[in-house]
């Protein structure tokens, strides 16, 4: 990992091993205490989504990541409990991966990182509730409950994995500030302080709910 942070290319025997080491190091850096099973789940997810065909789906406009609202609609009208679970899992997995790896690209889009955190955390939480009610699903239910509870921290850790060879500059201040305002990310807060900014919250305008 040391070599990576210096910007050089590192050969790895397997992608899974690379993600395991990188995520482990990022979790430690972010003081993220996570169960072994949940960690294995995240590493598997990263390995799976490293294949584009696992992340992108065919749409009328070509291969795209489907809107999260459509995945939620799939879950809402799933014909069976199993289909609902699969839709919720997909929603949680895609939200976590996209928020973790594409955080900086959100700056140019309407969709924002906090929306992915809310949707993903909620999907995992619903999944945990459902699975913990059945004896067969109880073990996995615990994993999803942990993923839901620590979703924001997981995103922070994945942000670190994705930015291991990236050096933050003054130009990132606004984006980091937005991430901190929207999500309360401890990582964004720490990076802002490192860039010499002490973030302060302010209020918006129309009150929604």
């Amino acid at each position: 990992m040391q070599a990576m942070s210096q910007g050089s290319v590192v050969a790895v025997a397997s992608l899974r091993e690379f993600f395991r080491d990188a995520f482990h190091a990022a979790s430690a850096n972010q003081h993220l205490d996570i169960d072994e099973q949940a960690e294995a789940y995240v590493v598997n997810l990263l390995t799976m989504f490293s294949r584009a065909e696992a992340l992108y789906e065919p749409t009328p406009e070509g291969l795209r990541i489907r809107p999260l609202a459509h995945m939620l609609a799939d879950a809402l009208e799933a014909p069976t409990a199993l289909a609902r679970q699969r839709s919720l899992q997909r929603l949680g997995d895609v939200s976590l991966f996209v928020a973790g790896f594409f955080a900086r690209s959100f700056a140019r889009k309407l969709i924002d990182i906090d929306y992915h955190i809310a949707m993903g955390g909620n999907a995992y939480s619903s999944l945990a509730d459902t699975m913990q009610r059945s004896s067969a699903g109880r073990a996995f239910g615990g994993v999803y409950a942990e993923l839901a509870q620590k979703f924001q921290r997981l995103v922070d850790a994945l942000n670190e994995v994705s930015e291991m060879s990236y050096r933050h500059t003054d130009a990132d201040v606004l984006r980091l500030y937005e991430i901190w305002i929207k999500t309360g990310s401890r990582r964004a807060h720490g990076l802002l302080q490192r860039l010499g900014v002490e973030p302060v919250r302010h209020v918006g305008t129309i009150r929604e709910h």
């Binding site: 609202a69 809402l76 929306y115 809310a118 949707m119 305008t205």
Partner: protein, 217 residues
């Protein structure tokens, strides 16, 4: 009678008859509300729609803060919608929207989800505001409404994660849908009203998942 005016406006826009007068179900004193904590929201807010199963179907009540209603009666948004009464108007319209949509769905034995209620309410706010402001300011399509209603907002920090995800989804989906309405039906400040209303009436009649898909297509 502000609420009746808002209800009639929604009824006309969507061609949905007013089966039940909102004032017959209105509660303005929180102490008169049934003594229970709703399953989906434990917060005390200025607007709440209470729905419960009863022996002969469903029981419904709309709570709106009395002070808010008094302020709206003094500064009626149906006469002049301004920055000063915008917040109260949005809260009241949301309540009327929830009530009108729920009553319409339930009298047709159609299910109604919290997500579709919120999505429809966001669209209702936009559409009603556009029509009110256009009527009050000479007929041109008010291009500033979308940004005002969808960009400059903040969400209650006391929302639990499920509520937050629901409100954000509804808000985002409605914002996307209303932007698409503008792209499809507005040219050089003029709206193709008939075509827009046809689309809005179709949208109103979609159920939960179909509404979400249609809004974000």
């Amino acid at each position: 009678m502000v609420l009746r005016g808002l209800q009639e406006l929604l009824g006309r826009l969507y061609d949905v008859p007013v089966d039940y007068d909102v004032y017959d179900f209105l509660v303005t004193d929180r102490r008169a509300l049934p003594d229970f904590t709703p399953a989906n929201d434990a917060r005390a807010t200025d607007e709440e729609l209470l729905l419960a199963e009863s022996s002969d179907g469903a029981a419904m009540a709309l709570y709106l803060d009395g002070g808010l209603l008094r302020r709206l009666e003094l500064a009626d948004p149906l006469g002049a919608l301004t920055e000063d009464n915008l917040q109260d108007y949005c809260t009241a319209l949301e309540g009327v929207s929830h009530f009108h949509y729920s009553a319409w769905r339930l009298t047709r034995d159609a299910p109604v989800s919290l997500l579709e209620l919120e999505t429809q309410a966001e669209v209702d706010k936009y559409v009603a505001t556009v029509f009110l402001i256009a009527g009050q300011s000479g007929g041109l399509y008010p291009a500033q409404v979308h940004a005002r209603l969808f960009d400059r907002v903040r969400f209650d920090t006391d929302l639990d994660p499920a509520q937050y995800a629901r409100y954000r989804t509804a808000h985002r989906s409605a914002a996307q849908y209303c932007r698409a309405l503008e792209r499809r039906f507005v040219r050089r400040g003029q709206a193709h009203i008939e075509a827009m209303l046809r689309e809005l009436r179709l949208f109103y009649r979609l159920g939960s998942a179909a509404k979400l898909r249609h809004a974000t297509a």
